[in-house]
């Protein structure tokens, strides 16, 4: 064995070939779209049923309804009580999860392939034939109200909810899925039944089936379990959140939610940007990687590795079908609050042109986005989630193959253009959830005007 050379790093050889999974599309007679993907590493199968209503479909004044309805799916179905459903899921070792997003709700169930048909039929029962009983409703709503009450003490949750409200103004996207105390209290059992009847419509839903079976067997699982789901022909609920134009924020501002004697200040700095389907998505992805999307990004290197203000800082787009927020988020030592905000604002402003990405930063951002891409296709659940994402945003089947070349084609000028267009230092909302009395003096140095004090937005 020869000793290795420590005078220089080994080069990375050519990227290995990777074949992205093929998606086969079907449509059942009731209009349900089915996407099947074979995945043969381990005898495991994942089903994701995507319903095209999320928290953005909450009726005005009833914030939290969509998530409450989704939560009630496993509270009893046609023949099974809530406890029997839970028992049945345990017996097949099912990993069941519900994700309520702004535009869609996804019910996912992963189980061993030998339990595939049992898993599929349980999922179908829960989604299409939930009991929605009044007594279960009262219990589940109370649990969610109590949880909301607890969230008031969680600085990051307070920051998330308040930030959405500030950047969207009055808008269907302006709240987290769990909703608000007032909204949940107004919900009635009839609202739950009505919402389910309209939102859970086979012809507007998509089922993704991914696992260790051939396409025709995956399709058979889908047909057997979901073929009997009758289409009601109901129209989508009201106006789609993604089509409601937000008013947005005209000027920069500073907002504070008081958290007495807090050890840290939870920060959100951002504004609304654009839609997930923008053609500039690859440029924004690279821009975000340089600015705050990875460990070696400018924001994290500055705030964590150089200054030691925080355990970590990052930037991200909270993507939706409609206009989506961009935000820098971090939690910093109370004494460093103003300094951390000043550094953050500088980084956001500079990437727009004063300090465009260097060749090295561009190369690092692209490499980390593209070379690691195949890693996201290791488990059935990962693959199913990727396909669900494509379905949500209406992306083409060629999306996986095109991702790497599209990111690699992004130029330095593309990034600066995208940053100049979608980052605007003059419109940033800076939100602090922290100990106001300890920091109020230092905030003046930021020249962001007088801070507006807000209650926790629950």
């Amino acid at each position: 064995v020869t000793r290795i050379d420590r005078s220089r790093l080994p080069e990375v050889s050519a990227d290995p070939r990777f074949t992205f999974p093929a998606i086969v599309r079907h449509r059942l007679r009731n209009g349900l779209r089915v996407c099947s993907v074979e995945h043969h590493s381990v005898p495991v199968i994942t089903f994701i049923l995507q319903v095209d209503s999320g928290s953005g479909a909450d009726p005005d004044q009833l914030e939290g309804l969509a998530a409450l309805v989704a939560d009630m799916a496993d509270e009893g179905t046609g023949t099974l009580s809530a406890l029997e459903v839970s028992d049945a899921l345990s017996r097949i070792g099912a990993d069941y999860d519900v994700d309520v997003g702004g535009d869609a709700t996804e019910f996912s169930l992963t189980t061993l392939t030998r339990f595939a048909s049992r898993g599929a039929s349980l999922l179908a029962d829960m989604v299409t034939r939930p009991r929605l009983m009044e007594s279960d409703f009262a219990r589940v709503r109370q649990l969610r109200l109590d949880r909301l009450r607890q969230l008031k003490d969680v600085a990051s949750a307070v920051a998330e909810q308040t930030f959405l409200r500030l950047v969207y103004g009055p808008h269907p996207y302006a709240h987290l899925a769990i909703g608000t105390d007032a909204g949940l209290r107004r919900v009635t059992p009839d609202d739950v039944v009505a919402f389910h009847a309209r939102a859970f419509e086979s012809s507007r839903a998509t089922l993704i089936v991914c696992g260790a079976m051939r396409h025709e067997d995956l399709l058979k699982q889908a047909e057997d379990a979901f073929g009997g789901w009758a289409s009601s022909g109901a129209d989508a609920i009201g106006r789609l959140a993604s089509e409601v134009e937000p008013i947005g924020t005209p000027v920069t501002r500073l907002a504070v939610v008081e958290r007495e004697a807090a050890a840290q200040s939870e920060l959100r700095i951002g504004h609304l940007s654009t839609r997930r389907v923008t053609p500039e998505y690859p440029a924004l992805l690279v821009m975000n990687a340089v600015l705050g999307g990875q460990f070696v990004s400018r924001v994290n290197l500055k705030l964590r590795e150089e200054k030691g203000y925080t355990y970590g800082a990052r930037t991200s787009f909270d993507w939706r079908r409609g206009i989506s927020p961009f935000a820098l988020q971090t939690s910093v030592h109370t004494a460093s609050t103003a300094d951390a905000i000043a550094d953050s604002l500088t980084e956001i402003a500079d990437v727009r042109g004063t300090r465009p990405p260097t060749a090295e930063e561009m190369s690092l951002a692209k490499a980390s986005l593209t070379r690691g891409y195949p890693r996201g296709f290791e488990t059935a659940q990962q693959v199913a989630r990727s396909v669900a994402m494509m379905s949500l945003y209406g992306l083409p089947d060629t999306y996986f193959e095109e991702f790497v070349p599209k990111v690699n084609a992004v130029t330095n000028a593309d990034v600066v253009d995208a940053a100049a267009r979608y980052l605007d230092p003059l419109r940033l909302t800076t939100l602090i959830v922290g100990d106001y009395s300890a920091i109020s003096e230092s905030l003046r140095s930021l020249n962001l005007g007088d801070p507006q004090l807000h209650p926790a937005a629950f």
Binding site: P10, P16, H40, E378
Partner: protein
């Protein structure tokens, strides 16, 4: 229920310098997982120096002699995902890289094992000390119920027992750390004889061993540190009350329980499931579903190398007291001790365990991936091939063995019970609780 044959095959060899190398082939995706465990954690610290092992983990990402800059950029340039973590018993580091970047990952990982200290400056050390203090503020001090596990650890173990402090350490100790202490720590614990390397994924076994020898073979061996031995026993029920920035009171009940992989450990794990995991579990059904007395219930066996603890947690629903909740929990504990669980409950818990063993075979890298599991079995059990035997422990559990475990390890009169209450509302705590504060 039919048994599924599930296994995690591997090859293990030990290099001349004492480094264990374990290889597992999985060619589904063109990625390779590199996973290194050092058999050192916060249990190797001593009072006054707590938080050391974890701070040290941060320094492993700051550069080493031959690549004297951040650890992340050359690996992210190669498309890697990477991270590390520290707990009471071990510190792990991992990269998942495209097959094309295996050399680079091994070069970087071996350089910090063999050549860290020349790159370790006072400035880097001091910055990471601040980062860790902020991690402590974010994950513990500024989080509801965030400090209770510190109070619990201190109550479960005597002050000289290394499980009496948490891995994050005390803020005072972290501030007092010196660069010289760090250097000594590295020499004692970070060498091949105290480490274990797993390569898993898209590579040939023989080539993997050649690579391991090439990159790690030259690193000088060290003296394997002596195992930490320390016993602890609870003789009474200790009731404590902790104030916190919370809306609703919550109760924590904790017992000593068998060490990881010791007899009774799997039983306690299953008891955690059937008492407090999921809607059909006994405590959830009673407290949350039927009586609506609690907002949530959780419970688990926290398995550790020299002694575990078993924990039950419940948050009182508005209008209900911790006293009511605790009384119901005790009723259920008495019932499981006198009657044992039903066969049906055990079947369900074992079915879940079996499925989860299968799910654990889905990823080669990262926390909990196959490479991490092989290292866990090798370092903590001395046998990387323990996967199948581990599952057998669950399949062999019986009504009698679960009942015996509950009787032996969940006595109502020898445990720690902590009431966490909203500020200045001591009346909400269990009767006879002593105030405790942690910082």
């Amino acid at each position: 229920m039919t048994s599924v044959a599930i296994d995690l095959p591997f090859t293990k060899r030990t290099l001349g310098n004492g480094l264990d190398v374990i290889v597992h082939e999985d060619r589904h995706i063109p990625i390779v997982a590199v996973n290194v465990w050092y058999h050192v954690g916060s249990k190797n610290e001593r009072p006054g120096r707590t938080g050391f092992a974890h701070l040290f983990e941060h320094l492993m990402f700051e550069g080493s002699e031959h690549y004297n800059a951040g650890y992340f950029p050359p690996l992210q340039q190669a498309g890697a995902l990477l991270n590390g973590s520290t707990n009471a018993d071990r510190t792990n580091y991992w990269e998942v890289v495209p097959t094309s970047a295996i050399d680079r990952a091994l070069w970087m990982e071996s350089d910090r094992m063999g050549f860290l200290l020349p790159a370790l400056t006072r400035e880097r050390f001091e910055t990471q000390r601040d980062v860790v203090l902020n991690e402590r503020r974010q994950s513990y001090e500024n989080r509801p119920y965030g400090m209770v596990m510190m109070a619990l650890s201190a109550a479960l173990y005597p002050a000289d027992h290394p499980y009496s402090w948490m891995t994050i350490g005390s803020a005072e100790d972290i501030r007092a750390m010196q660069l010289e202490d760090v250097q000594e720590f590295f020499r004692t614990y970070y060498h091949p004889a105290n480490a274990s390397l797993v390569l898993a994924g898209d590579l040939d076994t023989e080539r993997a061993f050649d690579l391991a020898e090439a990159y790690f073979g030259e690193i000088p061996t060290g003296i394997r540190p002596k195992a930490v031995v320390n016993g602890a026993e609870l003789l009474v029920e200790q009731r404590l009350v902790l104030e916190d920035r919370v809306e609703l009171p919550r109760i924590y009940l904790a017992w000593h329980s068998p060490a990881m992989f010791a007899g009774g450990d799997a039983e306690m794990d299953l008891l955690g499931d059937l008492l407090a995991n999921g809607k059909t579990s006994r405590l959830y059904k009673t407290l949350v579903y039927d009586l609506r007395m609690a907002l949530d219930v959780s419970g688990y066996q926290s398995s550790r190398e020299i002694g575990s603890f078993f924990l039950l947690v419940a948050t009182a629903a508005p209008g209900h007291t911790l006293t009511e909740v605790a009384a119901r929990i005790d009723d259920e504990l008495r019932r499981v001790v006198t009657e044992g669980p039903t066969v049906d409950e055990i079947d369900r818990a074992v079915a879940q365990a079996e499925a989860h063993f299968m799910y654990r075979l889905q990823t080669v890298g990262g926390f909990g991936g196959k490479s991490d599991q092989l290292n866990a079995y090798n370092v903590l059990q001395g046998n990387p091939g323990f996967f199948a035997a581990d599952l057998e422990r669950y399949r062999h559990a019986t009504r009698e063995s679960l009942q015996a475990a509950a009787r032996a390890y969940l006595p109502l009169d020898r445990r720690v019970v902590i009431s966490v209450i909203p500020r200045r509302q001591h009346a909400l705590a269990l009767e006879g609780s002593t105030a405790v504060s942690v910082s």
